[in-house]
């Protein structure tokens, strides 16, 4: 894989046309970054969650190269990421993090995908007093009940994404809701957030059925049957990946989604939309990443560079990877120090212009205000997509400040 990745990189570098030329012109005036590289340890489930993490790593590489060509950070030092597989278990991840911190001599660490891995690494960071920039794990606990001084998270968490959906349901009349969620923390916490928030959008809403199939092992027929039996008006879905495909197919055949309003988390992200293929249901309200419809110039430039270099379309992971590097570069420039205490202080309320617009690392809960898109699913040919999209700024759906204070005090 490493080899394949390098070839890709080289081929991609040759293939980039105009964008590269422009960068080269810039390079003439301000020479490439030269000083000692700033090493950042990046651990993620590259082996287990490759569909998400490989596009993520690609985009990080792309962003780092772009920044380095433009002169690097902290007055000319290049950014260097040390990528490591976290083994997808907390036990392995903590060892790998220690390896990065002690042997690879990284300035700080970033990454992780699974929530339990993210939490374990966050606690290690707290213990070792080193910065941990959690990029992908969604668990609210990382910035709430189990938050700590050294751990910051970029991606909109479960609460924020659930709230984007329940607010999108405002004005609807469906009162009888069914919930289907994978049986682990992400699913349970999304369901809990939903129960808490739906009443604000639809007064009198009640939950008439809940199904929590084991992650990766949904018995779709039985689950769909059980949900239909409760005769809900609407469904809140948290399933993703292979579970979602199986659930949607079974639901389509059995007519579960007919005349029912569906809110669905993450389904619009290319990672989960692509495998759905022509089974993509129509008219679900989802969070996602309709990259082809985002018109901001910086975003378009990043998409073009990404497609040119990797000969692939960007995923949600790509966006996260790219924005991560932008935020970290800004952080290093602002702090102008590798002292982790200084970095943590510099992160507090740090505002960065990114390809998804401004992102602030809110100081009170150390959560980024990166947002995401909400829209309606639609089938275009043999592939699903989103329409009527709207970017919801994360800043508008953050946890209320008093809740943050209450949760983090007990931590």
């Amino acid at each position: 894989m490493t080899m394949a990745f390098e070839t890709l990189t080289r081929r991609g570098a040759l293939a980039v046309g105009g964008g590269l030329a422009a960068a080269a012109l810039v390079g003439l005036r301000s020479p490439r970054a030269q000083g000692a590289p700033i090493r950042i340890g990046e651990l993620n489930s590259y082996s287990r969650m490759a569909a998400f993490s490989v596009p993520y790593r690609n985009a990080m590489q792309l962003a780092a190269d772009t920044i380095n060509r433009a002169g690097g950070v902290m007055g000319g030092r290049p950014l260097e990421f040390i990528f490591r597989d976290d083994g997808a278990t907390p036990g392995d991840a903590v060892r790998v993090a220690e390896d990065l911190l002690t042997r690879e001599n990284v300035a700080f660490i970033a990454g992780t995908f699974l929530s339990n891995v993210g939490l374990a690494v966050a606690d290690l960071a707290n213990q070792r007093r080193r910065l941990f920039f959690a990029t992908e794990p969604l668990s609210d606990a990382i910035t709430m009940a189990q938050g700590n001084r050294y751990t910051w998270r970029l991606r909109p968490n479960t609460y924020m994404q659930t709230r984007m959906l329940t607010e999108a349901a405002r004005g609807r009349t469906q009162r009888r809701w069914a919930i289907v969620a994978p049986n682990y923390e992400y699913g349970q916490s999304a369901a809990a957030n939903f129960k808490r928030l739906i009443g604000a959008s639809i007064p009198g809403a009640e939950i008439v059925a809940e199904q929590y199939p084991a992650l990766g092992r949904v018995d779709a027929g039985a689950t769909v049957g059980a949900l239909a039996q409760a005769r809900p008006d609407a469904i809140f879905n948290v399933l993703f990946g292979p579970d979602l495909t199986a659930f949607v197919r079974e639901g389509n055949t059995r007519g579960l989604f007919e005349r029912r309003f569906v809110l669905s988390l993450l389904t619009g992200e290319p990672e989960y939309m692509i495998p759905l293929g022509d089974e993509c249901p129509e008219g679900w309200i989802v969070t996602g990443y309709p990259w082809e419809q985002v018109e901001w110039p910086t975003h378009r430039a990043y998409v073009e560079a990404y497609r040119a270099r990797f000969n692939d379309t960007p995923r949600k992971g790509s966006l996260l990877g790219y924005v991560t590097v932008q935020v970290l570069a800004n952080l290093l420039n602002r702090a102008n120090s590798l002292d982790n205490e200084a970095l943590v202080e510099a992160l507090r309320d740090l505002r960065t212009e990114t390809v998804t617009g401004p992102v602030t690392m809110r100081g009170i809960d150390q959560q980024g205000t990166m947002g995401t898109w909400v829209g309606e699913t639609v089938l275009r040919g043999r592939q699903g997509g989103m329409r009527n999209i709207r970017y919801v700024d994360g800043a508008t759906v953050m946890f209320p400040e008093d809740e943050v204070r209450a949760a983090r005090r007990s931590a």
Partner: protein
């Protein structure tokens, strides 16, 4: 609830049961003939799905006819069958003579390799398969819509059962399979070409797994996690049905299908554990499954696999051991912080592996769920520190107590069984413990676990904690080693060698095994507690199946017939993983390949190789 809903729900259960049966029948046949518990069966299932999502759309390009769809499914199954033949010829054939556990380990190596091979060939993105032409629609049954394809699946199960019955009763190949299942030695004595029989059986087994996978493509997309998610369930089906019994597998599949279809209505949150509860109950009541037979007692006496008369250390070994311990203890002086960290983990795993080999090698009690006691020890320590507010010292005392307590509880039932059924019951209990830790979110923190499990201030430096772990782990290992040489250890070996003889000289075999199980649980619990404080957190992966398999791999690499092999195995296993993980995303492939290579080169483990070397000089 209205009856039409119940009917449709039970049809859903039957459709799942059919799919499960097709896969499980292959596993049970292969086990019956070769006595190999084939972990790679799940990989064949996954390959069936991947080959089908490649072949079937290609065929449907030619013509969207149902016949081509099913032709594609059968082609996929046949391709997988041939892969089964390849596995038999290239790997299994070379290891029929090595102990059964090593065969199991080798098949697990295949699982790891296939996982990464699939990622490499088909990429990480799930691939949805096409729906079956002509069976895309839903059928109205009492006002409920039911997928036509699932009606078809309901028919497939009994059809496969019928075809297998014909095969087993009307063909010479089938008669041989039945004979071999009943008495493997007899078939060898009859002059049957055993090699051909085994190859044929592997083809059939892999074919059925591939068929099961290929038939799933209209329902689920092919993904790289399919193998492990199906294999445990298929194990459960074959064990409940009785290993080797095809009809039993059918009954068990129907039972489990219905349990899940209605289980989700009553207990929507504990579906993880329902099937394992069922398996535990069945094994406690019917120790050989529904239609299984007790393993026929070995006709002639064979030397047991495991620790034979343990000898004390020789002079050279004493010196070697002294150097090893001295350099280990001096590690903080010359190694860097990471080396100390890794050495700490190796010591913890060495203790866990040693306690497992105390059961497997010394007692002949093969536990597939040893991580349960390791993990429960970790949870006891972690919860006491974080929720109980206790300091590290009492928490570290609680860890072995918890490990021992649960080992005593589960062991009480476990020691009533033997062989593969015993192993499966340990697996069931481990899964139940795993599910409880996973599901009881308020208490255990669910799958996120609990963080903040750090040592007391005096032990918080890496070096001090390393010495603490070294003292506990080495002390416990030496204590267990002493027990192996004491009458209790000898009694366990005696009961392993001949239960009737042990019974006849007045030994209460069950009670001794129960004590041994508890003692091993105590040691594993201590290891778990030490592990929790070295990681700073606890979470359910500590008691998951992969962790149990890691422990087994360690003792097998080290050699189950040597007393100290487990320690060597733990170090070797950890070293292999540590070297490969940073190298490439495909480290699982390399890990699997090294496991297979080690089984082929050192069929008795590293410890066994050392023993042979020593015997020669």
């Amino acid at each position: 609830m209205d009856p039409s809903f119940l009917l449709v729900q039970s049809l859903s259960g039957l459709a799942s049961a059919s799919s499960l049966f097709v896969i499980a029948s292959g596993l049970t046949l292969v086990f019956g003939v070769t006595r190999i518990v084939n972990f790679a069966h799940g990989s064949f299932y996954m390959l069936g799905a991947y080959v089908a999502v490649t072949v079937v759309p290609w065929l449907l390009e030619i013509d969207r006819s149902p016949w081509l769809f099913f032709a594609g499914v059968l082609i996929s199954a046949a391709v997988v069958g041939l892969l089964g033949v390849a596995m038999e010829l290239l790997l299994l054939r070379r290891i029929y003579k090595v102990p059964e556990l090593f065969q199991l380990l080798a098949t697990f190596g295949v699982v790891l390799m296939v996982q990464d091979a699939v990622l490499k060939i088909w990429g990480p993105v799930d691939i949805p398969g096409p729906r079956a032409p002509g069976l895309r629609h839903g059928v109205e049954i009492f006002g409920q819509r039911f997928p036509a394809y699932e009606l078809f699946l309901i028919v497939v199960g009994p059809a496969v059962l019928g075809l297998l019955w014909l095969l087993m009763h009307r063909t010479r190949f089938g008669v041989l399979i039945r004979a071999a299942t009943r008495d493997r030695e007899m078939v060898g004595a009859l002059g049957v070409n055993q090699a051909l029989l085994f190859t044929g059986t592997l083809f059939l087994g892999a074919f059925l797994a591939g068929l099961g996978g290929a038939l799933q493509i209209p329902r689920v997309s092919a993904s790289a996690q399919m193998d492990l998610s199906i294999i445990t369930e298929v194990f459960v089906v074959t064990v409940i049905g009785g290993m080797g019994s095809v009809t039993g597998a059918f009954l068990a599949a129907v039972l489990i299908g219905q349990l899940q279809a209605f289980g989700v209505l009553v207990f929507p949150k504990i579906t993880l554990v329902l099937v394992f509860l069922l398996m535990a109950v069945v094994l406690v009541i019917k120790p050989w499954g529904l239609l299984g037979r007790p393993e026929p007692a070995a006709g002639r006496a064979a030397l047991p696999e495991g620790i034979l008369s343990p000898r004390g250390f020789g002079g050279a070994e004493r010196a070697l051991l002294g150097v090893a311990v001295a350099s280990l203890l001096a590690l903080p002086l010359f190694g860097d912080a990471y080396a100390v960290k890794v050495a700490t983990e190796v010591l913890v795993f060495a203790l866990a592996a040693f306690s497992l080999n105390f059961l497997v090698g010394n007692g002949g009690i093969v536990s597939f769920g040893h991580a349960a006691y390791f993990g429960l020890g970790a949870y006891a320590a972690g919860l006491l520190v974080t929720k109980g507010g206790l300091p590290m010292e009492p928490a570290l005392l609680a860890a072995p107590l918890a490990g021992g307590l649960f080992a005593a509880l589960f062991g009480f039932f476990v020691v009533r069984l033997s062989g593969i059924y015993l192993a499966m019951l340990t697996l069931a209990f481990a899964q139940i413990a795993y599910a409880v830790c996973f599901q009881w979110v308020e208490f255990t923190g669910g799958d996120n676990g609990v963080v903040g499990v750090w040592p007391s201030a005096w032990a918080s430096s890496r070096h001090v904690y390393f010495y603490l772990v070294a003292a506990c782990a080495l002390g416990a290992i030496l204590a267990l080693r002493h027990v192996i040489y004491a009458p209790f250890g000898a009694t366990l070996r005696a009961a392993r060698d001949s239960e009737p003889r042990a019974d006849a000289i007045g030994i209460d075999v069950r009670t001794h095994r129960w004590l041994a199980f508890t003692l091993a649980g105590v040691a594993a619990g201590l290891a778990g507690g030490l592990y929790a404080f070295s990681k700073g957190s606890i979470d359910p992966t500590m008691l998951g199946i992969p962790m149990s398999v890691d422990f087994l791999a360690m003792i097998l690499l080290g050699g189950i017939q040597t007393v100290m092999g487990a320690v060597v195995g733990a170090a070797a296993f950890h070293a292999i993983k540590d070297v490969f993980m940073p190298l490439t995303d495909y480290w699982r492939f390399l890990l699997g390949a090294s496991i297979i290579a080690l089984v082929l080169i050192f069929p008795r483990g590293l410890g066994g190789a050392w023993g042979a070397l020593r015997a020669r000089t």
